[in-house]
């Protein structure tokens, strides 16, 4: 480690914070364009002008938008992301109830999918052009090509409705044994894996192949190195940067991109929380969720960057 790495990381961090700020402004003003507000959403069919006015005052919606933005921002900086307009619970508490579930799902999916994807990617790069490679490729393409809601629904029909092996719903509460855990998580995890494994394995394959066509790999062959050594000792260390990047991009999908999986398996994650918040125009909650997705994305990308920097001696050692 040295100052170069430190400086690079600090620079990325600063850029990340800037990006967060841009996103917060963008989200705030997009949501301000939404027709209707929390008051209307809350009253629904029952809205009358006087009721609306009363609720708006109660929610503080009668204040101008920039003022609301800044009070929200200052609240956020003070660690207080506000109070939900809809059910008057602190936003932090609402999110706090859901975020662990989301992270757990994302974590389990990552733990399952990353090894599979890397193995597939690396082996198909090793045997590129072979039947195995082509089979893996066609499988990967087919997996990304089927809408995830269909994959999920079919899985439910087979494993829950017909075979009764797994649960059609993923309850997070009341799981005490590993068997229960598997029962609840198997299907959402399988569905999500279908979406991201293909992506990651293909990028891994490309990154490894990129290295395998390099001169130093040819050199290693001419030194008498076997295929395994070539991939593990020569190609992989240099492919780490792009691979980690691909993994980070795919994993960033696991927080915000899983609305469909959450809604099919009734999983209490943060994506549905945000969908709810948009529907009910619960601005503080929408904002907070958007910031979380964005921050998660930036953190993953930052992590990938750091790994790439640390893996690259040119950057690591001056």
């Amino acid at each position: 480690m040295n100052s170069t790495v430190g400086r690079l990381i600090a620079q990325r961090l600063a850029l990340g914070i800037l990006t967060l700020l841009i996103v917060s402004v963008a989200v705030f003003f997009i949501t301000n364009l939404l027709p209707g507000d929390a008051a209307q959403a809350a009253l629904g069919q029952a809205a009358t002008p006087e009721l609306l006015a009363a609720l708006r005052t109660q929610f503080g919606l009668d204040q101008p938008a920039p003022l609301r933005y800044f009070s929200w921002l200052s609240g956020l900086l003070a660690g207080q992301p506000g109070i939900s307009l809809v059910n008057h619970m602190p936003v932090a508490q609402l999110i706090g109830g859901r975020l662990p579930s989301s992270l757990l799902l994302a974590g389990v999916t990552a733990a399952v999918s990353v090894p599979i994807a890397l193995t597939l990617g690396i082996t198909s790069a090793m045997y590129r052009g072979s039947k195995y490679d082509r089979a893996v490729n066609v499988m990967a393409v087919s997996m990304v090509s089927i809408p995830e809601f269909l994959v999920a629904t079919i899985a439910v029909l087979i494993f829950a409705v017909h075979l009764h092996w797994l649960s059609a719903l993923s309850h997070t509460a009341g799981i005490t044994t590993f068997a229960q855990f598997v029962k609840a998580y198997a299907m959402p995890v399988i569905t999500l894996c279908c979406v991201i494994v293909a992506q990651m394995s293909r990028m891994t394959r490309a990154a490894v192949i990129d290295q395998l066509t390099s001169s130093y790999v040819e050199m290693a062959v001419l030194k008498g190195a076997g295929p395994v050594r070539i991939v593990l000792r020569h190609a992989l260390p240099n492919a780490i940067g792009p691979i980690v990047n691909a993994v980070a991009l795919s994993l960033s999908y696991l927080l915000g991109g899983v609305i469909i999986v959450e809604s099919i398996f009734n999983y209490p994650g943060i994506a549905t929380l945000m969908v709810d918040a948009v529907t009910t125009r619960d601005m503080p909650l929408v904002q907070a969720c958007a910031m979380i997705f964005c921050a998660a994305y930036l953190m993953l990308v930052l992590f990938a960057d750091i790994v790439a920097i640390v893996a690259n001696p040119k950057l690591r050692i001056k």
Binding site: T19, P147, F149, L157, V161, I259, V278, A290
Partner: protein, 299 residues
């Protein structure tokens, strides 16, 4: 000497480097038969894509019924001589609905992809050529956009402005523009350092000539193959939106909405839900195979 690749191969993973197969099976390289420069898998892809494009153009002419006509009181009917692909949840002819839906699916996705890639590439070139603060601003803004999950963004857009075909196109285009921008910018930065661009600059050419005549044609191949992938993503995004009831609105229907509106027939194995899903899968698989084999020529 091997032929110089006409594109700067920085982004496309495998530039045609002569350094070669390091692994054991060098002698096993059998010459595969190629037609139109495509491997057999690539041909399968081409055939699938061509089929659906033809359907998009001529589908409505071929379809036996009007897409909206209720023909039968029996719903989720199986495959029969009356309904070649079964009937849907209202007793409409699935074949006709899929044929009509082809236009929406392909048209929407194509327009959105073209917009995303077109504007993305344009901005990328502006960004790369101008450099400086404009470059930073654009890059940063697109970075911020990319960090909002696409479905969330689409959701907010649809919630704000109501679902219409135009809005869906704009939403999908905006969602996928940052990715297109990133790739095109990397390409443009690469191409820009090529000496022929320098020659053109030293000749006194304007930036419009340089970007459009000198740079663009040499970025177009990787941009096109990226466009193909993006097309697949848009098809899937739109079908995802349809699942959330935010996609193309009835009575019009793209394939995603067809799957969605018939999903309750899945439990009884109705073709009404399987067939449009199959259509989506064949289209996206076709595009993927085609692109893979265009790009991976030398792999």
């Amino acid at each position: 000497m091997s032929q110089p690749d006409s594109t700067p191969g920085a982004i496309t993973p495998a530039p045609a480097t002569p350094a070669g197969a390091p692994l054991a099976n060098q002698s096993a390289h059998t010459p595969a038969r190629r037609i139109l420069g495509l491997s057999p898998l690539g041909l399968v892809g081409l055939a699938l894509v061509a089929f659906w494009v033809l359907m998009a153009i001529f589908g409505p002419l071929l379809s036996p019924h009007d897409a909206g006509e209720v023909l039968d009181m029996d719903v989720f009917g199986g495959i029969s001589s009356k309904f070649w692909l079964g009937s849907d949840y209202l007793g409409r002819d699935m074949l006709s609905r899929i044929l009509y839906g082809t236009r929406y699916t392909i048209g929407l996705a194509l327009v959105a992809t073209l917009l995303a890639s077109g504007f993305g590439t344009l901005l990328a070139m502006v960004s790369a050529v101008s450099g400086g603060w404009l470059d930073s601003l654009l890059s940063r803004t697109f970075d911020a956009l990319i960090s909002i999950p696409s479905k969330m963004f689409a959701l907010m857009m649809v919630a704000s402005f109501g679902s219409s075909v135009r809005l869906l196109i704009i939403t999908a285009a905006i969602t996928y523009m940052p990715g297109a921008f990133r790739i095109a910018r990397a390409l443009a930065v690469n191409v820009q350092t090529m000496e022929y661009v320098q020659v053109a600059r030293a000749r006194g050419e304007g930036w419009l000539y340089i970007t459009c005549i000198e740079m663009l044609p040499n970025m177009i191949r990787p941009v096109m193959s990226d466009l193909g992938l993006r097309f697949v993503y848009v098809v899937l995004l739109l079908s995802g939106l349809s699942f959330l009831s935010l996609g193309v609105q009835p009575p019009d229907a793209d394939w995603g909405s067809l799957v969605r509106e018939n999903i309750s027939g899945l439990g009884q194995g109705a073709p009404a839900v399987l067939m449009p899903a199959l259509a989506i899968a064949t289209l996206t698989i076709g595009v993927n195979l085609l692109i893979d084999n265009l790009r991976g020529k030398r792999r």
